[in-house]
Every structure is written in C-alpha cells, then in structure tokens.
C-alpha cells in the first residue's frame, strides 16, 4: 500500500515491495528509493511558498454510490431540518420539544432522556461512542464518515448539485468560466450565490431551533421579534455554511480536518477502501492499443486512461495513485469507472471497495479474502458494546432525586462547650420531579443512636430527622450539622447521608466522613 499526501509516505508492506515497484514503474515515475540527491549544478527551483487553489469542477455521475449518497443526503438533511419540530410530551411543566438544548434552564432534552448539567458525563460517553464508531467504520470500510455522512461532505454535495443545475455540468461550467463575462454569466453566477446563501440561511435557521421552542421561534423570526442572539447565530451559521460548503469545499478536508491524518494511522491492509485495482488496470493505455496488445497475447490493463474517475472526484484526486489523504472515499469514481467499463465491454469494478491484501493475493494467483472479523474490529465492537451498556444502565437506573455532600474544610471539626464534637456539611438535594417535594434527611453509620443531626434554618422537621423542602425541578443547598459525644473514635468515621421521599419511597445517599481530634 502507499499513501500520498501533504506528508508523503512510501510504506511498502513486507512482501509487497515488488508490486509497488512495478506499480510505480508502470506509472512512469521513478521510485522514491532511487531518487538520488540532486547534484550541486542542478539546484532545483526554490519551492513555492504559497500555492493558488486549483479549482475543481466535479462532473455529474450516475450509479450505485451516487444513489446511496443522494439517499444519505436526503435523510441526514431531513433529520437536521425537521427534528426540532418533533414533539414529545413531558407533562405541563417541561418543554414538549423532542430534542432541545435549554440553556436558560440548563437542561438538555432528548426524547425520553433529560440531562442535568451535573450529568454532563453522558456527553463524555456519547463522545467515546462517536470516536470508537469512527474507528470501527474505518477498520471495516475506510472513510465512510468522510464520504457519506460528514456535514462538510453532505452540504458540499448539495452546493455542487445547485452549482451544476445553475452553471451547467463540468465542461459547460469550465468553458463559461474561461470565457468572457457576459450578462448570462453574471446572471448565472448571481443566481448560484443567491441559492447558496438561501440554503446557508436555512441551515443557520434550523440550527437555532434546537435551542428554543421551534414553532414559537419560527413565528418570532418571521415577525422580527426573536432575540438578537438567534439572529446572530443564524448569521454566523449562514456565513460558515456558505464559505465552507460553497468556497472552501475540499480544502476543509485537505488542510483543516485532522481525521484524514488519524485515519491514515488507523487503517490496515484488511480495511475495505476505495481502491484502484492496479493489478487489473495496469499497464494502462488506449482501448485500441490495449486490444492490440491483448490480440498479441501481451499483458494489457483495463484502464483506458479516460480520466473519468478524476473528473467526477469532488476533491480532484487521481484514485489511481493509490489511497491518499485528499481522498474522502465517496465512491463516485467507482460509478464513473463502472459506466466506462460497461461501455467498452470490460468487467466493472476496476475501481471498487477492496483491500491491499486482495491485490497482492490476486497477483499471486490466490483467492480473495474479506476479513471483517479481525482483532481491531472485535475490540472496537467490544468497547462500543461495553460503553453502550454502561450508559444504558446508568440511564435506566437514574433516580429522580439526588444528594451530594461536602464536608466543611475549615474548621474540620468543632469542639463544643460540653466537650462534644460537631462536624458541618454542605448538603445539596436534587429534586428532578416536576412538583415540590419534601425529603427526610438522616445520617447513617454513627455509633450514637441519639446523634444530633440538624439542618440550619430548618423549622419543619423532627429532631434528628430534618425535612428539606425542594421546589420543582430544582436543587437546594442546606447546612447540616452532626454532633457526637462519645469520642472513642480514631480521627475519621465513615458515615452516610440519606434522603428519603416519603410518598414514593425513593431515596438516595452520599458517603462522607465524621472527623474528630486525634
């Protein structure tokens, strides 16, 4: 396998060296290892510091992968634009939007899940799942994310489609760009940018709907009564979408995104990648030349050098140079090549999802192997299952009340006039119910049954069993005091605070310590 990119590597795997050399020779370039230092007399031209961008005119294409990409595009955009309007009944005291990030109330709603700020570790779990899913996708079929699912790819694809609709397909577009500025050219360019800005504007518009009640906000936006922050974010998202999908396009993938680099380090010889089967394609040549060679019984490749694979590529790479950093593996070159192969009566999938191992095996006359179950895929799946299980367990056993305790740091303990020792704690009680509840606080693990437990400011509870009132969907912090008199303890005694909601019997506890002088 070899990888070409901003940092070029030439990594011949064990046993694949002759193939690489053959490939490189057939591509009419000199292998890197043979490159001798240039003699002093032929100093190279000083390298360019800055290069202008090469404009890419991706040609339209039909085929299996194009169809998959259209479907993915439609589904992902539909989810993005319509999800804020999906309703989910949570009773009268909570918003009924299925997915809502409620910053003022500090809540995140996702269908049946409601995340409080202190439960942000669920986000950590989600990020772990997302990262490992990316690794798994990569181990199975390369940059599936980049080629089909990444927002940059989806929106760029949409913008390219609009561009082709307004300015024509590759040839027409190139010819017009090279030609003089006519009224028609100005009109077409203007129309294109107008449509792009409209799409970008809708993208920003949908974004803000995730942060407020969508139907209300739409009405406010339409009547000009929405908060300034909403307009500001629509403006920002309009700008980023317009520039990233309309103007930056493949530059985002090539220069800005770290994933191609990470992916290059994670891939292996069994991963399915969009591959030019050079064992079948080389030596390339015109149809006629190759047919003549075949007639003479000489070796001739299937590649007729038509460059269709290059013309349809949204990042402008030549897949025949092998797996490379700029290639997002969208599979459009597969569709383009298949169309040509059908026309010239050769088998399709000269370019296809394939592995480095299979190229070697075919060359050695061995059957192809596809090993989806490998150490890394098993490992990634295992991690996914474990993290997923932990998260589901945590979600399922999540309680509707909570307690957290902090021991006073200064003073750690207080000696009272009668010789008793008192410890003070800050107790925070969480009430996730939608109405006011009363919680009984008790302390456990103290050896004195008459252990004085009191809550500062509490006038409702019984002695030793203070009652704490917490409003709907709120937390309340109280100061709790524990006093002990028989000081036979060493300097630390493990204790626990427990709150009980008497109506439902729901309870929660938090562990801490009682500290006494040595």
């Amino acid at each position: 396998m070899h990888v070409v990119g901003a940092i070029t590597t030439s990594v011949p795997g064990a046993g694949s060296e002759p193939d690489l050399v053959e490939l490189v020779k057939s591509a009419k370039v000199v292998p890197l290892r043979a490159a001798a230092p240039l003699a002093a007399t032929e100093e190279p031209e000083p390298p360019l510091l800055y290069a202008p961008r090469r404009k890419i005119y991706p040609q339209s294409v039909q085929g299996t992968y194009r169809r998959i990409k259209w479907i993915v595009l439609a589904v992902t955009l539909a989810i993005y634009y319509l999800l804020p309007f999906v309703r989910w009944d949570r009773g009268q005291y909570a918003p009924n939007q299925a997915v809502l990030i409620d910053f003022p109330s500090r809540r995140f709603y996702f269908f049946f899940i409601e995340i409080w700020p202190q439960e942000v570790y669920y986000l950590t779990g989600l990020l772990i799942l997302a990262a490992v899913t990316l690794f798994l996708m990569n181990a199975v079929a390369g940059r599936v994310w980049c080629g089909y699912l990444c927002p940059q790819t989806v929106w760029t694809d949409l913008f390219c489609a609009v561009e082709r609709l307004v300015e024509g397909d590759r040839r027409q577009h190139m010819r017009r760009d090279a030609g003089p500025w006519t009224a028609e050219k100005v009109a077409r360019k203007g129309a294109k940018h107008f449509f792009w800005l409209m799409i970008a504007w809708w993208t920003g518009g949908a974004w803000v709907l995730y942060f407020a009640d969508a139907p209300t906000l739409v009405m406010e936006l339409a009547t000009g009564r929405a908060p300034l922050i909403a307009y500001a974010w629509i403006g920002i998202l309009t700008g980023t979408t317009y520039f990233l999908a309309g103007h930056m396009r493949e530059q985002v993938c090539t220069y800005m995104c770290p994933w191609p680099r990470i992916q290059a380090a994670l891939t292996d010889e069994h991963a399915l990648n969009v591959t030019y089967r050079h064992d079948r394609g080389e030596p390339r040549g015109s149809i006629k030349k190759n047919e003549q060679a075949r007639a003479k019984g000489e070796r001739a490749g299937d590649c007729i050098d038509c460059l269709q694979c290059v013309h349809v590529c949204p990042t402008g790479v030549d897949i025949r140079n092998g797996l490379q950093l700029d290639c997002i593996q969208c599979g459009l070159c597969i569709d383009a090549c298949d169309a040509i192969m059908r026309k010239i009566g050769r088998p399709t999938r000269l370019i296809g999802y394939d592995t480095d191992v299979n190229i070697e095996r075919r060359q050695a006359g061995k059957p192809e192997v596809f090993r989806i179950v490998r150490t890394r895929t098993v490992l990634y799946s295992g991690i996914l299952a474990a993290v997923g299980a932990i998260m589901i367990y945590a979600l399922a056993t999540r309680s509707t009340l909570g307690i957290s305790v902090i021991h006073d740091r200064n003073p750690v303990y207080v000696r009272l006039a009668d010789g008793g020792i008192r410890n003070a704690y800050t107790v925070r009680v969480l009430n996730k119910w939608r109405d006011t509840h009363f919680f009984t606080l008790t302390v456990e693990g103290v050896p004195e049954p008459d252990a004085g437990l009191e809550v500062v400011g509490d006038s409702t509870g019984m002695v030793g069993r203070p009652v704490i009132e917490v409003g709907p969907d709120q937390t309340r912090e109280v100061r709790a005091l524990v006093t002990l008199h028989r000081l036979s303890y060493q300097d630390s005694l493990p204790i626990a605070f427990r709150i009980v909601e008497p109506e439902s019997g729901a309870q929660a506890s938090a562990a801490d310590h009682f500290r006494a002088p040595h």
Binding site: I7, T8, P411, V414, G457
Partner: protein, 293 residues
C-alpha cells in the same frame, strides 16, 4: 530525525522535500494554500484596526486611548453597577427585614448566607479563619460558646461596633494583668490557675494548692467570671467551666493570661460595611452552627 542538506524531489508527487527524514519517511515541502496567506494578512489588518479602536500602545507617560475612549476600569464600574442593580430586589428585602425574618425565610436566608460568605472571606477570615474556625486568641465562631452572646442581635452588635475598638459603642471588658501590675504574688497566680483548671474538670498538678486557689479566685476573679466560674457575657468574661479555651487550657497558658492580662481587639465594621452586609454577616456567622436562638 535526520536532516539531509540536499533537498530532493519526491518521485511520486514531484514535490520537493524539506530534507527532514524520519525512519525513511521524508517530509514534503508542500506550499501553503494561498487563502491561508490571505487570512494571515486579514489578521494583520484586524490588529491594526484594533490598535486604532482600543487603547494599545504605551507612550512615555500615557498610552494611545483609542477612538472611543474605552477603558477597562470604566467597564468594571459598569459591571459592578449592573450587578448591584440585578441584586437590588433581594438587597432591599434584606435591608427592610429583621434578622429573625431573614433567617425564617429560605430565600432571604440563602441570599444572606451567600452575601455573608463573600463578605466574611474579605473582612473576617484573616483573623477568624476562612470557615470561622478561629485560632489562638481569635474565637472559633462555629462553637457554642460566645464571649459576648450568640444571638443574632448580639452578633450584629459585635460586628457593627467591635470589641475594645475605637467605636463609641464598642464592647468593653478587661482582664487585668495580675502579675505584671503587681496585683498578686506569683504563688497566688499559679494557685488560681490550678483552681481554674479544676473548674473545668481538668486534672490537677501534683503541687497544686486548690484551697489557696479557691480563695484567690473568690477575691479576684469571681467579680467578672462569677462565683461558679460560668462567666458574664455583659463583660465578655468567658465561661471557665467548659471545654473551650480561647488561649489554651494548659497551666502555662492560664498563668500567662493571669500574669499579663488578656484583651483581644475586634474592629468596628459600622462605616466600613453597609447595613445589609453587616446583617448578612450576622446571619452567616449565626448559621455556622453555634448561633443561639
């Protein structure tokens, strides 16, 4: 990393290499995209604009003040005013309420405790400790012994006017220097110290003369500390029978107090802190746990 002084042309891409090599991998000297250069220029232009609009360059005795005269000091003043306005509702309620009303209302109590915590850290913590834990000579505010009383009103009075302070209404009381001022002979002082320890149930030294100590105590100490040693709050005279000792309970510390006298000073905060802050401090200290009803 090895550095090759002779840059090569990479065979596959046709791009020159930088001459850096890692285990046979050579780094390509790929040119930066031109749009990156434009962004770089744009940041330079932005910086120049920033110099013009905001204060930036130091001059000999001043600085360039910027087009609109923006000042960070002014911004802080505005922020503080906005904060004060935002808190005005609760501040006004606390100003109008009595201390007992504040403690009885959960919302006012929470607000006063938060305000008190901040004011305590700024004004009280240097002597009393960040949690009011006290130190030798500086009372622990968490316990249940109070030299001058532990009710909300007592605390407020102490904070407002101080103890042995320069304030007209300050709390005053004095422990005489019996030894230094030649009021009692050394043997009487040691005997009184031993007797004082016995009041709190602390073990007596082998050479203690408790009878003499009782007599000395009755004649010299009981006037302020009471016949039974339980103290008198109106004079700030501590209870000598309990487990709390401001300067320590060992014989040496008590003899030292009798010899040199004691008289810690707490400054008056009236005039230094506003009324609501003093109220909040009283509530905060009261809720440490030792506050009396």
């Amino acid at each position: 990393m090895a550095t090759d002084p002779h840059p090569q042309i990479d065979a596959i891409t046709g791009t020159p290499t930088t001459g850096h090599e890692w285990d046979g991998l050579r780094e390509l000297n790929t040119p930066l995209p031109r749009w990156w250069l434009w962004i770089f220029y744009a940041t330079i232009i932005w910086a120049i604009g920033y110099w013009i609009v905001y204060p930036s360059w130091p001059l000999v005795s001043s600085y360039t003040s910027g087009l609109f005269g923006w000042k960070s000091r002014q911004a802080i003043v505005e922020d503080l005013a906005a904060l004060k306005a935002q808190r005005a509702g609760m501040t006004d309620r606390i100003a109008a309420a009595s201390l007992d009303q504040i403690v009885a209302d959960p919302a006012m109590l929470a607000f006063a405790r938060a305000q008190g915590r901040a004011a305590f850290a700024d004004n009280c913590a240097p002597c009393h400790g960040s949690g009011g834990g006290g130190a030798k000579g500086y009372p622990n505010l968490n316990d249940d012994e109070w030299l001058w009383g532990g009710k909300l009103a007592d605390l407020e009075l102490t904070i407002r006017h101080g103890i042995r302070s320069t304030d007209d209404k300050t709390r005053v009381g004095s422990m005489p220097a019996f030894g230094r001022d030649n009021m009692l002979p050394r043997a009487d002082i040691v005997a009184a110290a031993d007797f004082t320890r016995s009041l709190a149930g602390l073990p007596a030294a082998p050479d203690a003369d408790l009878g003499r100590g009782r007599r000395v105590f009755a004649e010299n100490c009981a006037a302020c500390h009471g016949d039974d040693g339980k103290g008198k709050r109106e004079l700030g005279a501590p209870d000598l029978t309990d487990a709390i000792w401001l300067y320590g309970s060992d014989r040496r510390a008590i003899v030292e107090g009798l010899w040199n006298g004691r008289g810690g000073v707490m400054p008056a905060f009236a005039g230094r802190l506003d009324d609501t802050t003093i109220k909040a401090l009283a509530v905060y200290v009261h809720t440490f746990g030792g506050g009396e009803k």
